[in-house]
Symmetry: C2
Subunit: 487 residues, 2 copies
């Protein structure tokens, strides 16, 4: 088809080469293929050996049937349409604390205008709430002026990469496997991705010696290492870092003078009873590091957690240990986009200040929250066991986050068949899985993995009643696949 556009002003060669180079597997070719299959199923039911597509490629809970937290949506609806607050019927239709909260929020906005651009960092009253929430979580002070509200965590990560990367000489230490937003953003901003490997054999542990080695190698190549990305709880690994390990990481950043970019969007998603989330800010403060010792950005989002409100694009970054001059630059860059969306801002404040004991909504809120989190824990366990029962598959426990990331030992014949199909072996497996079962997973090559190892990431998000059927379809597919390609 390209030739039809031969007289167009712009061809592929005219585009920014950094855009051409960038890859983002989460919505790559396999998802486009899944969308085609889905259309097939709508137009010709029975045209494939399954009757629905199960999107396990992306942490998108509501798309697979998870219901929103009622309190959050009540407040959002009232803020969207404040005239409801003048109606007598409203008291019967909304909880007392959602009404109270909506009024409180509206009172913090000049003219009560949820339709106005806010301060470039977000509405001050909402940042106050978030700062209080962080203080309650960490036991250390938080400053609303350190909070930047953002349209989810992704634009916040881009903003930091834009700030830190001036040329390909600037490097960012990133885990492998990683969430591919990081590699995509580093590529788009023209920086150097310095991989550090997580150790699969010890359940995807982060070894400081590996960080040190990669930093040293990068520096010896003349790379100016600006920052370290840590994702905790881990995506795609599900690892929840131990406190002692976090202290080592903070010490490393302090000693080496690199910014710590802490992706903490899964902080509410911890399933392992012996593990607990600790923010890097709490860890660094508890070690005695203050504002002037370490530069730290914590990313959070309304898209994950038990709420899973991906479509609202709400999130924030907490930004500590940067000089006023640097803050001014961040403020300026945020200002060019004016502000993040106000519903997302409101939601970001709500997740950091949910109903408390004694509030009318509290019982309902707690029940909704616990039902989601306990079900996610059960689903994580069922999938872990199911994957571990497959021939040649090993899967570490998802201690947190929303994913299983099993390793598959693929037979040589499958690797050869993939080579012939000009695709990575695990992408070949994922493609076959989709065509046989309608289940969409992302191959390990999209996240990065040690050469010669193969994985896939599968979310734990299908509704619980569907899990047995998924496990059985998956198991059957895997058997057939192995039978076909076993040496």
């Amino acid at each position: 088809m390209a030739s039809d556009y031969s007289s167009s002003p712009i061809t592929l060669n005219d585009l920014n080469p950094k855009v051409l180079k960038c890859a983002y597997a989460i919505r790559g070719e396999i998802v486009t293929h899944a969308q085609t299959l889905q259309q097939d199923l709508t137009e010709n039911p029975g045209s494939h050996p399954f009757n629905e597509i199960l999107y396990c490629n992306i942490g998108n809970p509501h798309s697979l049937g998870q219901k929103p937290i009622s309190f959050f949506r009540e407040v959002l609806a009232l803020c969207d349409h404040p005239l409801l607050l003048d109606r007598s019927e409203t008291k019967a239709m909304f909880s007392a604390d959602s009404i109270e909260r909506a009024i409180q929020i509206l009172d913090q906005i000049p003219c009560r205008a949820t339709g106005a651009y806010s301060h470039s960092q977000g509405i001050k009253g909402l940042r106050d709430k978030i700062a209080s929430g962080i203080e309650v979580r960490d036991g250390f002070p938080a400053d609303p002026n350190d909070i930047f509200l953002t349209d989810g965590a992704s634009p916040a990560v881009h903003m930091m990469m834009q700030l830190l990367i001036g040329s390909e000489n600037d490097g960012i230490l990133c885990p492998i496997p990683q969430y591919p937003l990081y590699s995509a953003s580093i590529t788009l901003h023209g920086g150097t991705h310095i991989s550090y490997y997580l150790d699969e054999e010890t359940g995807w542990a982060l070894e400081i010696s590996e960080l040190e080695n990669q930093l040293k190698t990068a520096r010896s190549r003349g790379v100016n290492v600006k920052a370290l990305v840590v994702i905790n709880p881990g995506n795609p690994t599900g690892r929840v870092l131990a406190e002692a390990n976090q202290r080592e990481i903070v010490e490393f950043c302090w000693k080496e003078g690199v910014v710590l970019l802490a992706d903490e969007v899964y902080q509410e998603n911890v399933y392992a009873p012996d593990k607990q989330f600790h923010s890097f800010k709490k860890i660094s403060r508890s070690m005695g590091f203050g504002e002037k010792d370490i530069s730290l950005v914590s990313f959070h989002s309304a898209s994950k957690g038990y709420y899973g409100e991906c479509g609202k694009r709400g999130g924030y970054m907490e930004f500590t240990g940067f000089s006023p001059e640097i803050r001014e630059q961040i403020y300026k860059v945020a200002s060019v986009n004016l502000c993040s969306n106000i519903s997302g801002q409101i939601l970001a404040s709500l997740i950091m200040s949910p109903p408390k004991v004694g509030d009318e909504s509290h019982e309902c809120f707690s029940a909704e929250k616990e039902a989601i989190l306990s079900s996610l824990a059960r689903r994580a366990k069922i999938l872990e066991d199911a994957f571990n029962s497959l021939e040649g598959v090993t899967c570490y426990k998802a201690e947190g986050a929303l994913y299983s990331f099993p390793r598959i030992n693929l037979p040589d014949k499958a690797i050869k068949a993939a080579e012939e199909a000009k695709t990575a072996p695990d992408a070949f497996y994922a493609w076959r899985l989709l065509n046989a079962t309608g289940i969409v997973v992302v191959s390990g090559s999209g996240f990065g993995q040690r050469p010669g190892t193969w994985h896939f990431r599968c979310t734990i998000l299908p509704q619980e009643e569907k899990i047995p059927a998924i496990v059985s379809r998956f198991t059957q597919f895997h058997k057939q696949f192995m039978d076909e390609f076993r040496g």
Copy 2:
């Protein structure tokens, strides 16, 4: 304070130099200063010779008291909290067509999940509505697959700059004066800003000869000119382009092989009775140019128009005349950020498909819309006349958009005083105006202007009943300023 951070890993010198270079006057120093004054007024009423800050620096209608369009907010509230649709009270509290529309929208979303990430281009059903709205507006077909829903127009502009700019060798033709998003985005992406001057003497006309000259000069310097930015209706100029002029512009882009980036966010804001908005797509199609002749991106936003829903961050770009390979690249870049916020997506569809004659909301909707637009037209005229009555000030008619952009002939003594204060003369004037009256305007130097000319941009957005007082404060200030500095 900088020295306190001397041991921080990151100093100003470590930042991306493109970020340091970027400027965005709309929320520059003067706005920060205004925020300080506002805090003063709260803490010490009477501490300044005015009792409120009037933010005329930014097109942010709701922040100055404009009310939202009821129908839009009803639909948004119902989509935010779909459980309302199950309540018997809802019929009494919402219009029948807002209920119907909300149901229609929810039915187009898998699982009715407004909390899920959508397709990277936005929800298909909403894009269908937008495409139909474009067809009705233009009388030419529009394809939902050409629509990319975005968090307002700003991220859409950034996305295009990211796509088109690979190095400083890539140039973008931009008007002077311009909305500084363009210069900021070109700087952030490391491209070359090629200025073409609008002709103030003919009411800010866009002369093709000027485009041709600037293009020729840029090419002779080895710049690869990728695109032409046209803002219509104009920001800050208020000019609405004549159809014949638009045809010349399309012809220029076709002949010279440059992408036409059409900022059409003020398409609903036309006040001159002899002027009408025509989209560049309509113009190009009416000239017989098809998909393969011209590459055109039209930006639209829910932030402006009569609705002015800036805080919702809704918008779209319509993207025609690009090969499938290039579309894939845009899709990929959009995918890295997953999707724009769903409330903004819904709102973007609503502005392109408002209530029709016969719908229950139609009468109320029309009354709200007409009240806002006719009031804006009156305000534009009052401010134009007021500015023209000031000594040394000339102000062209705002035919459209949301701004007055008067020129001030500053006395030499004022220019000298500005030099001494190390600021641009018009910034000096704006700063004095703020300190004397509480009115925030943006100086012409923030938009670009012919060397030696001075301007400021003032929105026409303060509520109508406040305009006389503003005019009188402004007039008094200007007299005193001129008396102080007259030669």
